[in-house]
Symmetry: C2
Subunit: 321 residues, 2 copies
């Protein structure tokens, strides 16, 4: 089984590749080769499975065609320009998030091999005057360009799957926390920073109030779920190939309390509380009362508690940990 991970330089692509190497199998078949593709050359991974790294510009169909070939059985499409970035740079967001996704779908269609394609969508597809709770039959009413482009991707994945051009699946990821690495241009960046930086002994700012609630999943559980999504039988997915990946709804206060329970009182003292209006405007409309019953019934899983997320960060990702 040859697996291509587009967005393979990102933290999720890297973790997914390491998990697939460690597992050695997907859908009952041995993993023969993993190709990490990204706009910047991804970091390679050592292990029992060969892992290639390759530069790929998904806005260029020829570049996509070099990466996804008739030997590709599985494509994970994780690449995106994130929320704040897509909001500031409208054309770039459209090129990468919409046309890039179309280029990947069109390449898969042209191959005629109906590869398994897993597309990552986002909570940003929700918003506006849609009643709580958000369920799998709620209107997608995105309030930013990133969410719009992800909702478009979902519709296209469903249609290409229905037509038999791909064995498509999409998952709306909860906000991943604690995400390793550095702050990025996602409006949700602080939802990891406020824990990660203090756990690393660094100061950070929380731009929202401590009662701000949102919907979270650990990177570890997210990767497990991304693998599970590939292994659900097509018949069990029915006529809608898009799932809400399950998460937990938590306030900032609950997250900080979990950090304190695991790591003691020092990290929380490194958080300052300066409101940031630009961030508040974007995340203030984000939905958190989200139900993922269908995904849970299909075997996707949620963290047992946010303490687990904090421990997973310390074990898996904390520098020098």
């Amino acid at each position: 089984m040859n697996i291509v991970i587009i967005g393979g330089a990102g933290f999720l692509g890297q973790k997914l590749a390491r998990a697939l190497v460690a597992r050695g199998r997907l859908n009952g078949q041995p993993v023969r080769r993993i190709t990490l593709a990204d706009v910047t050359d991804p970091v390679g991974i050592e292990g029992a499975v060969p892992v290639d790294t390759v530069q790929c510009d998904i806005t260029d169909p020829a570049s996509v065609a070099r990466v996804i070939t008739d030997e590709t059985q599985v494509v994970y499409h994780l690449a995106a320009v994130v929320s704040s970035h897509a909001e500031e740079a409208f054309e770039e967001g459209m090129q990468i998030n919409l046309h890039g996704t179309l280029n990947i779908l069109e390449r898969c269609r042209a191959l005629g091999t109906a590869p398994l394609l897993i597309f990552t969508s986002s909570l940003a597809v929700y918003g506006g005057e849609v009643p709580d709770p958000i369920t799998e039959v709620s209107l997608l009413n995105p309030q930013n360009s990133y969410g719009t482009q992800k909702a478009v991707g979902e519709l296209l994945v469903n249609d290409y799957a229905r037509k038999g051009y791909i064995d498509g699946r999409g998952v709306r990821l909860p906000t991943i926390s604690i995400r390793p690495g550095k702050p990025n241009r996602a409006a949700s960046s602080f939802m990891s920073s406020i824990l990660r930086e203090p756990l690393n002994g660094q100061g950070t700012n929380c731009p929202v109030d401590e009662d701000f609630r949102h919907y979270y999943l650990s990177p570890r559980k997210c990767v497990e779920n991304l693998i599970r999504v590939a292994e659900i039988s097509a018949g069990d997915l029915g006529g809608n190939r898009i799932l809400q990946m399950p998460g937990r709804t938590l306030s900032i206060r609950q997250m900080i309390d979990a950090m304190t329970a695991v790591a003691g009182p020092e990290p929380a003292r490194l958080i300052s509380w300066q409101p940031e209006e630009a961030v508040r405007r974007i995340v203030g409309g984000w939905r958190f009362d989200i139900h993922a019953d269908r995904a849970l019934a299909l075997g996707l899983e949620v963290d047992g508690s946010f303490e687990e997320n904090v421990r997973a960060y310390i074990e898996d990702d904390r520098p020098g940990g």
Copy 2:
């Protein structure tokens, strides 16, 4: 006020143009010029307002740029490859319904004048395992490529409007019956043919059972609503610029009874009842329990009865009538 109607050769574009000419005003301003643009040269219209006709290929950005200029205040985008056609000719559907719509949106954005853009969507955005009734907060879960492409158009119209690139509005049209002219490649074509052909003294076939229910509006009321949509103040639309245009849910039997009430018993005898599986497969999943409360509250209207639709056909459209 300069108005461009893309899809201006279609029956709806033609009726809309005639209504705008007769009205002479839109949004409190005089209509100075109407441009009917279509892939085939539209039929011109005589009246007190100059009506230009022009060929336009919306898959070609340069062609779109020649039609939508900085003098264009209003764009009606009615052009589409219809449902059965888009299902058979996937690439053509994508080119016209998705990339064509993108080309129109991108042209409007490039102008910097934020023109008023009215986009026509379709009931085909609904489907699958979404509970009845369908409301304005139901998931769009299209079960064919046409519906997918229309749902994508809706999302983009909303986002371009939110960004201020257009004053965008979208309306999901009920199935228009009685549509004048000839059968087309829409799976819904028979929903007019079974009345139009008998009213014209010709035989026709009904491919579904007489208890098949669907959601209808007359061309006359549809045109009135398309004008009304342009005149709703942006503030009243709130964060979702897409409306379900109101219609009536009727069975085939109710429609035929209405025809008989208006035109006597002869027309109904011209209908044969041979099931057509290809049509049934597509329309069988179409939704009919549809609520359009928001549009009704904003002043859009529904026909008083289907008898009105039959009379409107006889008055407005029946050949030699």
